[in-house]
Amino acid sequence: MIKIRGLNKWFGDLHVLKDIDLDVIEKEVVVVIGASGSGKSTLLRCINFLEFAQKGKVFIDGKETDRNSRSLHLVRAEVGMVFQHFNLFPHRTVMGNVIEGLTQVKKIPYTQALSQGTELLAKVGLSEKADVYPAMLSGGQKQRVAIARALAMKPKIMLFDEPTSSLDPELVGEVLQVMKTLANEGMTMMVVSHEMGFAREVGDRMIYMDEGRIVEEGAPKELYSNPKNERTKAFLGQII
C-alpha cells in the first residue's frame, strides 16, 4: 500500500528524516512512536505530500508520486489524514465538513453526499450534531468529525498524526474507540501516537523513531515489553 525508499528530508540545515525505508501492507495498522523532534510527524506528512522530501521515493498503492505530479491532489484524496488539532473548517457545520470533500473533490451531487454524510456521522456517533458548527463541540467530538471527514473520501489508507494528544484525558477513549473500529474493519492505518493500550490492542507493528531514523520495529507487545535497542528502552521507560 505504501512503499518508502531512501527518504531524506531537511528543514534548512536540520536533517529530520534519514534514509527511511518503510512498507505498509494492506490492512496493516502501524503505530509510530518517538520523542518530539524524532521526525515521526514529518514522515507522516511526507506520505500525503504536505511536506516534500528532498531525496527518496514515496509510492502510494504502487504509484510513485512527487511534488511535481499533476495529479498530486488526487493522490492526497486517497490518503486520509487526521490532525492533532483537528483542523475542522470552522465556517461549515459538522455535516458541511464531512461532505466538503465529496462535493468539491469527488463532485458527488449534494443530496447523495448528504446521505453518505449521515451514514458517516452515525458511524462516529454524532448523528445529532450534523447541523451545529465545530465551535460547539468538545475536542473528542471534533476529532470524530475529522475522522468522518477523512473517511468520506473512502481513502485507501488513513494517517493519524497524534490524534489524541490535544484532548482532555476523559475524551481520549471515544476517539480511540472509533479508531479501533476502523482498524477492525480492515482499514490500513498509520498512527503516530503514544497510546500504548491502543497500540497493543490493534497495532500490527510498532516503529520507534529517533533523530530521523527508524531505530527499531516489531510487534507492539514485543517491542513494548522487550525492546532491544537502548534508546527504545530509555524512551519507553520515560513514557510509561
Binding site: 470533500g101 458548527y133 473520501m153
Partner: protein, 223 residues
C-alpha cells in the same frame, strides 16, 4: 437675542437641496469601493505569491499608491493623463478612489489570509483539494470574515475621501456646499449641512458593517 452672523434656520431649508449631491457622493463611494475590492483581492493574492514576478508588481503598486496622496492621484488621472486619454470626471473619481483603496484593501486581505491557521489549508489539501480550491473554499471565507472590521473602517474612510473628488469638479457634497455657500453667502451653514449628510451616511455604514459582522458570527456561537 444675540446677533449672530449666521442664519441656522437656513440649514433645514437648504438641506433637501443637497440630495442630488449626496447621491453622487454615494455613487463615487459605492463604485470606488467595488473597484477597490477587486483590486484589493487580486493584489492581496499576488502579494502572497512566492513567485517574484507576481508579488513584485503588487508590492510596487501598494508602495506607490500608499506613498502618495489621493488628491494627487485624482489630479493625475483627471488632468495629468489628458493628453493620453480623456476620462470623464465621474469615472476618473471612481477609478481614483478605487485604485487608492485597492492598495489598502490588499493589505487588509493579505493580513486576514495570513491569519488563517496553516492547518486549514493542510486539511483542505489532505481531502484532495487543489491549492486554488483550498483558497476559495476554506481560506478566503475565513479570511473575509476576519477582514470585515478593517474593511468597514476602510469603507468609512473611502466615503469621506470621496469629498476629494470636488477637486476634479465632481459636484458631490463638498463642492456643492462651496458653490451654495458662495451663492448664498452662508458658507458655514452650507458646510454644516454637508457635515450632517456625512454623519448620517457614516452612521448608516457603521451600522451595516456591524450587521454583517453579526451575521458572520453564527459559526462562533457555543451554545
Amino acid at each position: 437675542m444675540f446677533d449672530l452672523p449666521w442664519d441656522f434656520t437656513a440649514i433645514p431649508r437648504f438641506f433637501p437641496g443637497f440630495y442630488v449631491a449626496a447621491l453622487l457622493t454615494l455613487q463615487i463611494t459605492f463604485f470606488g469601493i467595488l473597484v477597490g475590492l477587486v483590486f484589493g483581492l487580486v493584489t492581496g493574492l499576488m502579494r502572497l505569491s512566492t513567485n517574484k514576478l507576481i508579488n513584485t508588481p503588487a508590492k510596487f503598486y501598494i508602495w506607490v499608491i500608499r506613498g502618495t496622496p489621493l488628491l494627487l492621484q485624482l489630479m493625475i488621472i483627471y488632468y495629468g493623463l489628458i493628453d493620453l486619454v480623456s476620462i470623464d470626471r465621474m469615472p476618473a473619481a471612481i477609478i481614483g478612489l478605487g485604485v487608492h483603496n485597492g492598495a489598502y484593501i490588499a493589505e487588509i486581505f493579505r493580513g486576514a489570509i495570513q491569519s488563517v491557521e496553516r492547518g486549514q489549508r493542510e486539511a483542505a489539501l489532505s481531502l484532495g483539494m487543489t491549492p486554488s480550491q483550498a483558497m476559495r473554499r476554506v481560506i478566503l471565507p475565513q479570511a473575509f470574515k476576519r477582514s470585515v472590521p478593517a474593511l468597514g473602517n476602510q469603507f468609512i474612510i473611502a466615503l469621506k475621501d470621496s469629498s476629494l473628488a470636488s477637486a476634479i469638479a465632481v459636484r458631490e457634497l463638498l463642492l456643492r456646499a462651496r458653490q451654495m455657500g458662495s451663492a448664498t453667502l452662508m458658507m458655514l451653514e452650507m458646510l454644516m449641512i454637508v457635515g450632517i449628510y456625512y454623519l448620517i451616511m457614516t452612521t448608516v455604514l457603521t451600522f451595516l458593517v456591524g450587521r454583517v459582522e453579526k451575521r458572520l458570527q453564527v459559526s462562533d456561537y457555543r451554545d
